[in-house]
């Protein structure tokens, strides 16, 4: 199944054997292939962390930026060229911690981009400190008495901010993950997909088995259009974690709301001519 994927890339992966990132990578390549995308049409943006190395391991355009700053360049890219499929792959620390402010406001901005958060509930690259999604009591080299802070709930936060596509999946269920990925990419607007991705080295609590035992698929008749029900779902965790599309609502994406752009070519295709700007000097006479 993983053979002959257009998005294959020969670069040697610096992830640990058994790391959940490997399966996640295969999943996104499969999803993009199945959606009929070609490498040059896709940009993978990321911040810094283990997850954020993904752009190096996929044949596509990539922008591997700064820690916590995965979203803003992706937004700039999409504004410049809406013809590109822009996806983000970054960690839970990168997305919800260092980059928390961008996360909040880009849900509001609703750019047509897809954000895949590799949620291993830990800081992998920096060797095992608590992340915003680490559970209370989780002991690390820094949180020596266990995590005290309340965990960040990305699903509830995104729903409360009016995010148009909020989903959760587990990389251990490839089929589920790929279906969610495809739906997220197809969604017009900012889509958040929180993906459980075991870190086999630094998170000994939320292991592959732990996720497997804890997740359950949303019921067949679950209605992702019901905001209040979705919010309720988003609060479930300790007694079973729902995976699937938790909330979906179609809102016009950012660029669609700028009426004067609707008839125009993408910014990247504009013919630039200084003379066009001359009329803006009139206001100074």
């Amino acid at each position: 199944m993983d053979q002959q994927n257009l998005f294959d890339c020969s670069e040697e992966k610096a992830w640990c054997p058994g790391c959940g990132n490997h399966g996640l990578l295969e999943g996104i390549k499969q999803a993009l292939q199945e959606l009929g995308k070609e490498p040059h049409q896709v940009v993978v943006a990321s911040g810094i962390g283990q997850a954020a190395k993904l752009p190096h391991y996929i044949k596509a355009n990539g922008f591997n930026g700064l820690h916590g700053r995965a979203i803003p360049p992706a937004v700039g890219i999409k504004i410049a060229n809406p013809d590109l499929t822009v996806i983000i792959h970054s960690g839970d620390g990168d997305s919800y911690g260092e980059g928390g402010n961008h996360f909040l406001h880009n849900v509001r901005r609703n750019m047509d981009i897809t954000h895949f958060v590799h949620d291993n509930q830990i800081y992998g690259l920096t060797k095992g400190q608590a992340s915003p999604t680490s559970r209370p009591g989780h002991v690390t080299g820094i949180q020596t008495e266990g995590v005290i802070l309340q965990p960040f709930n990305p699903i509830a936060t995104a729903i409360s901010l009016g995010c148009g596509f909020v989903a959760r999946t587990f990389m251990g269920d490839r089929e589920h993950m790929v279906e969610i990925m495809k739906a997220a990419i197809k969604h017009r607007g900012y889509a958040l997909v929180d993906i459980f991705q075991p870190c086999v080295v630094f998170n000994k609590i939320n292991t592959f088995k732990w996720y497997k035992d804890h997740v359950y698929k949303l019921e067949e008749d679950y209605d992702p259009g019901d905001k209040v029900a979705a919010f309720q779902k988003s609060l479930e965790f300790d007694d079973g974690i729902p995976i699937g599309i938790i909330y979906k609502e179609d809102r016009p994406p950012f660029l669609d709301t700028i009426e004067y752009l609707s008839e125009e070519k993408p910014l990247v295709d504009r013919d630039l001519d200084p003379k066009n700007a001359e009329e803006f000097m009139d206001q100074f006479y």
Binding site: H56, F63, L66, H105, R270
Partner: protein, 562 residues
């Protein structure tokens, strides 16, 4: 002829309305003008003032000595009376008569409030004042009317019209002012607006920023015109987002820009390095205000230079240039985009509150002088096989393509140290080659920078050295001191880094005394010069009270060290 007028009052009283309208009337009357603003960081109350200096020849700076004070309150009189020239006049409302303690022949009391009331709207006070000033300055009432027609509509126009005439008909003498001979059409613009217009001319289609005085007017101008220009101006969630969005947009192939003031620039520091290592062209404006931290939000200083020169950890190439006039702001902004794309590097535009808020009347910009050079590679420029974003080439510049435009070619940009493909590397050898490639751009930039402007006659004994917004004041200081018989000249720098040194070395050689003039505490530009050339200054004139050095102050300071 050179007339200097101050309009003062508290925030919200209408001094800006009067100032703006009067400036326009003077512009339309073919006067040259230079205006500057001194305002407090508050929306109501306090003490603010605008100074309008106008005359029949170009004016490049403000000065202290006042010919007239237009007072909205008594504070304006007490604050500025000492600057009123002999024979100068204070104009104010008659209701303030009992509160002002000045000799009768210095004051002209006017029934302004009364006039506004008679017209039927106390809010038109400023326009009654305008009418009176049009009379006092011997200007054409018709021009005043025209300006009102452009500013107000319908009912509001009607009442303002009446107010204007009310003021104009007041009983007061006119100054005998020389009329301008040169009636060429001019624009009146400040340097922030000129930066914004330069950016539009250069083909900027995306501007992302977070509001911060005194940089916001760049964003405001672009936003006001975004619909017509079909561009995107986005208020980011913070400055970190603003610069990262601009970097993403530039990576994707458009001309993007961001701008801020010191505090926001501090937040951008990490991303400057991102632009550097990813070799993404980027133009960033920093409009300075006094720091550190929040400092003086609405005042002026030149204290970000040392920081800007090295902002970001690690080492990157950059060009730093500062504005001296609105003309320069326009043309240099456009140039910045060409240079940033030619060398795939960072260009930082500096300005400060003084120039950002100073309206000047100048020759209209010549858009035919602007060239857009993108330096973007096409498929034919590339070797076969996978595209390498950071390919080593003879001239050190890797061909840059636009992601998505060439099937089969993908672009990987990376903030880690990387190999030619853009993939993460830990190789010492590659690191050295990549550092050399990126830092070598400084050599090319050194060829691009322009020498400073020299003011004065050949080989002066005393050489003043300044940069940016002090240009006009340096120029006039030299002219006045030369007339007094001093052998004096000045260098005013625009391009700062890489530092152009040719003219500097020449002029320093012939001079007996060299003095740096800067609006900061530590003499940041003198430090740069010493670092780059070994030249040390004999004296420094440094001002860091948040107020721009005035002509008289500079002359006095120079005389002290002569």
């Amino acid at each position: 002829m050179d007339f200097n007028l101050l309009i003062g009052g508290s925030a919200g009283q209408g001094i800006d309305t009067l100032g703006t309208l009067l400036e326009k009337v003077l512009q339309r009357s073919s006067y040259y003008l230079f205006t500057n603003k001194d305002y407090m960081s508050r929306i109501r109350g306090g003490h603010n003032f605008n100074q309008i200096r106008f005359g029949s020849k170009p004016i490049y700076s403000h000065k202290n000595a006042l010919d007239a004070i237009v007072a909205f309150d008594e504070t304006t009189v007490t604050e500025h009376l000492s600057r009123l020239k002999e024979g100068g006049k204070i104009l104010l409302d008659e209701s303030l008569k009992d509160e002002i303690d000045v000799s009768e022949d210095q004051v002209v009391y006017l029934p302004l409030k009364e006039g506004a009331k008679e017209v039927g709207n106390p809010k038109v006070f400023s326009v009654v004042f305008l009418g009176a000033l049009i009379k006092a300055l011997d200007l054409d009432l018709k021009i005043g009317k025209k300006i009102l027609e452009k500013t107000f509509k319908e009912k509001l126009l009607e009442v303002n019209h009446k107010a204007l005439i009310k003021g104009f008909e007041m009983d007061l003498n006119s100054w005998d002012l020389k009329k301008p001979e040169n009636t060429d059409q001019r624009i009146m613009i400040n340097s922030n607006e000129a930066i914004a217009l330069g950016a539009l001319a250069a083909g900027v289609t995306f501007y992302s920023a977070y509001p911060m005085t005194p940089s916001t007017s760049i964003m405001e101008f672009l936003a006001a015109n975004q619909k017509k220009a079909r561009i995107v101006v986005e208020q980011a969630e913070d400055e970190i987002a603003a610069i990262n969005m601009a970097i993403g947009a530039s990576y994707a192939g458009i001309r993007a820009m961001t701008g801020t003031s010191g505090g926001g620039f501090s937040l951008m520091a990490e991303a400057l390095g991102l632009a550097g290592i990813t070799e993404t062209p980027l133009v960033v404006a920093n409009v300075q205000r006094p720091g550190p931290a929040t400092g003086f939000p609405t005042r002026t200083e030149q204290s970000d230079l040392s920081f800007i020169l090295t902002a970001s950890h690690g080492e990157i190439s950059r060009m730093v240039t500062v504005m001296r006039t609105p003309e320069e702001a326009f043309y240099k902004t456009a140039r910045a985009f060409n240079i940033s794309e030619k060398y795939q590097t960072l260009v930082i535009l500096m300005n400060d509150q003084y120039l950002a808020d100073a309206n000047q009347t100048i020759k209209p910009f010549d858009f035919s002088k602007i060239q857009i050079d993108r330096y973007i590679a096409g498929e034919e420029d590339l070797p076969k096989g996978d595209y390498q974003r950071y390919r080593f080439t003879e001239d050190g510049i890797s061909p840059r393509i636009i992601p998505g435009k060439i099937p089969g070619k993908t672009v990987l940009a990376d903030s880690d140290e990387h190999d030619e493909n853009g993939n993460i590397t830990e190789s010492a050898e590659v690191r050295i080659k990549m550092m050399d490639k990126r830092m070598n751009k400084m050599k090319a930039l050194a060829e691009e920078v322009e020498e400073p402007w020299f003011i004065g006659k050949e080989n002066p004994e005393i050489l003043l050295v300044g940069w940016g917004s002090t240009y006009g004041t340096l120029r006039e200081t030299v002219e006045i001191l030369q007339e007094e018989g001093h052998s004096i000249g000045a260098l005013s720098f625009g391009d700062l880094y890489p530092l152009p040194t040719k003219v500097l070395k020449e002029k320093v050689q012939g001079a007996k005394k060299i003095i740096n003039v800067e609006q900061n505490y530590t003499g940041q530009f003198a430090k740069l010069i010493r670092q780059e050339t070994g030249i040390a200054f004999d004296h420094s004139i440094l001002k860091y009270d948040g107020r721009q050095i005035a002509l008289e102050e500079l002359i006095e300071s120079v005389k002290e060290v002569l």
